[in-house]
Symmetry: C2
Subunit: 342 residues, 2 copies
DNA sequence: TAATTTTATGAAAACGTTTTCATTTTATAG
DNA sequence: CTATAAAATGAAAACGTTTTCATAAAATTA
């Protein structure tokens, strides 16, 4: 059964032998080292192609201490935004000859810590991270950072003081745009369901919300602002609380789409007409928002742009060997997507 | 800026030195080779932990020709079913000390071919594949198979003759269940939007559909059976075609959820009452089906079970060194999810 | 106790690259 | 046409493991 007709993997020595050259020269030619004749280079490349040579990553990595592998830690690949970012990253990295190891933290901190450890141990050349919502201490990335391994945070990023690179959406502007939109379409009593303020995302989105309210001289009702885990249930509870009061909101800015959808469900179940009685806007442009009835307004975060920026910055750092520590965060613009719910 | 205070990675030699043993013994202890004293083993383990030793995968891989890495080729990680399967696979593999490299073919064959090549070149220990819908020739996996690398296909699998392992949902039963359900709730004029018959998925789902119709002595209207790419647009076109006729269907079995959603949209736009005038059932239990109004009936495929089975089979093969060539496909059961659309 | 088997350890080669250092070849200047 | 610099190549060591083969220590048998 086990035919041991293993198709021979050719090595650098096979090329050397075929061309009567030393392995050293072959290696140099393949890495187009400056000190190798053009003719030789092309000969080697041709012969390599002919023999179907593929560099042995492990041998190469062992010697040069480079794995040509990038690690990625993400809360969940099934979240639309992340799936898009990952796809872009992967395609782009692939063009530069890098592999990507994707890991999911399931949004739990201890998992994130473990993964950072594992990826450090497997000697990734760089690490890309979208943190857990609870991550406020980043010391589990210290090992990587102090080893000179580029670490890039996106979406959920640490404090500005942490010595790494940040790439984020313009959450402040997103919150501001969403709120202004609600105001401009005639709402005044605006509620806001947000996530825990331990994450920069919600700090900024909420700040944008407050800024817009203030600018339009509208009061923020403290009973209508929630900072809690952004789950379906929590959102429904929040809605129930608000709509049991004597005076009820006429608009809601939800800091993600899941909760916006939950709010819309609550509205439907309780005979609240959307958008007539209640306008709703979410955040992220999840595909579900365009399918639900009425279609939800939301904020587009351009995941592909985020992914491209990440890779551009990363390749730059890998090439130059320099981490731009203390770099201001790169901010990717956002846009308002107006649909039927507002 | 570039503090070269690289935290020392300890090697097997450091342990050897600390314990006055040879590196060979350390290696054996760490791999708990039978011929090493219990005392020594525990000493080594303790010292390894103390020094924070982590095996250098590249050195290990180079020597032993094992990468402890499994490759995965999937059409798109953003598809709910695949995202779930991947997550399960990853967590399970992780427990067994394997890394996972996830690659997306974007459902294009040439990409799949290229990825198979790349993963072969990077010496993965095993490969897991959900094929493209157009993949009918599988020779790009030959290299892997004949090198003795376990190759496991799931969801979209090759012909039974291909020498690899298959794990699939019970698509025939799914099609059968869906159709029976429509019939039992009173429908007689049942339409069927299916994918191209180049994929086993749709062959089987369609076969299940036909079987159910036949069993209930209902005629299949050839104008109401579509085999085309299962896109939103195509589905709407198909609906338009059917509902422009003199006699129209009273139920639809769509072979995936995207097209079921499209059909539902068409119905809403054209004043067709669901489920009164038209019952609809989809396939896969995509999260969107439960959010749309009315919620769509569909078929649950238990992605977590699929993932678990894959890893169980894989680990078995990696351990035993035996590929169970010619193995009958493993079939994971499916279930009907009844919602408001039927 | 000596002879033999079993168990535990060590020395050294091997895996396929990259890279330092030395050497040869080629180009440039005097 | 030398003398020198520059360019191209080769020899060999190194990366950190695993593994074969040999050997030493312990356990078993005669």
């Amino acid at each position: 059964m086990n035919k041991d007709k293993k198709p021979q993997q050719n090595t650098i020595l096979d090329i050397a032998e075929a061309l009567k050259l030393s392995p050293a020269t072959i290696s140099r030619a393949l890495n187009n080292h400056p000190h190798v004749k053009e003719k030789t280079k092309s000969d080697v490349l041709k012969m390599a192609a002919q023999l179907g040579y593929r560099r042995n990553q492990m041998a190469s990595g062992l010697r040069s201490n480079k794995t040509h592998t990038v690690g990625l830690i993400v809360p969940r690949i099934s979240m639309f935004f992340h799936a898009e970012v990952i796809t872009t990253i992967q395609n782009a990295l692939h063009k530069h000859g890098y592999n990507l190891i994707i890991c999911q933290s399931n949004d739990v901190l201890s998992m994130e810590e473990e993964l950072a450890d594992i990826l450090y141990a497997s000697r990734v050349d760089a690490l890309i991270v979208a943190c857990t919502l609870q991550t406020t201490d980043f010391s589990h990335f210290d090992k990587l950072v102090s080893s000179g391994i580029p670490v890039i945070f996106y979406d959920r990023v640490p404090l500005d003081t942490y010595p790494a690179t940040f790439i984020k959406g313009d959450d402040f502007r997103g919150g501001y745009l969403a709120t202004c939109h609600l105001i401009e379409t005639g709402s005044q009593k605006i509620a806001h369901i947000s996530g825990k303020l331990s994450s920069n995302l919600y700090q900024d989105r909420t700040a944008g919300f407050r800024k817009a309210m203030e600018q339009h001289q509208l009061p923020v009702n403290a009973d209508w602002v929630f900072h809690q885990e952004l789950t379906h249930e929590n959102a429904k509870d929040a809605m129930a609380k608000m709509f049991s009061g004597a005076v009820v909101p006429d608009a809601l800015f939800s800091a993600n789409d899941v909760t916006a959808i939950a709010a819309l469900e609550f509205a439907k179940e309780n005979g609240i007409q959307v958008p007539r009685d209640l306008k709703i806007i979410g955040y992220s442009n999840d595909p579900r928002t365009s399918i639900i009835t009425p279609a939800l307004s939301t904020i587009e975060q351009y995941p592909a742009k985020v992914g491209q920026k990440i890779v551009a910055v990363l390749i730059e750092q890998l090439k130059s060997g320099e981490r731009e520590v203390g770099q201001k965060p790169y901010v990717i613009p956002v846009d308002l997507i107006r649909r039927m719910s507002s």
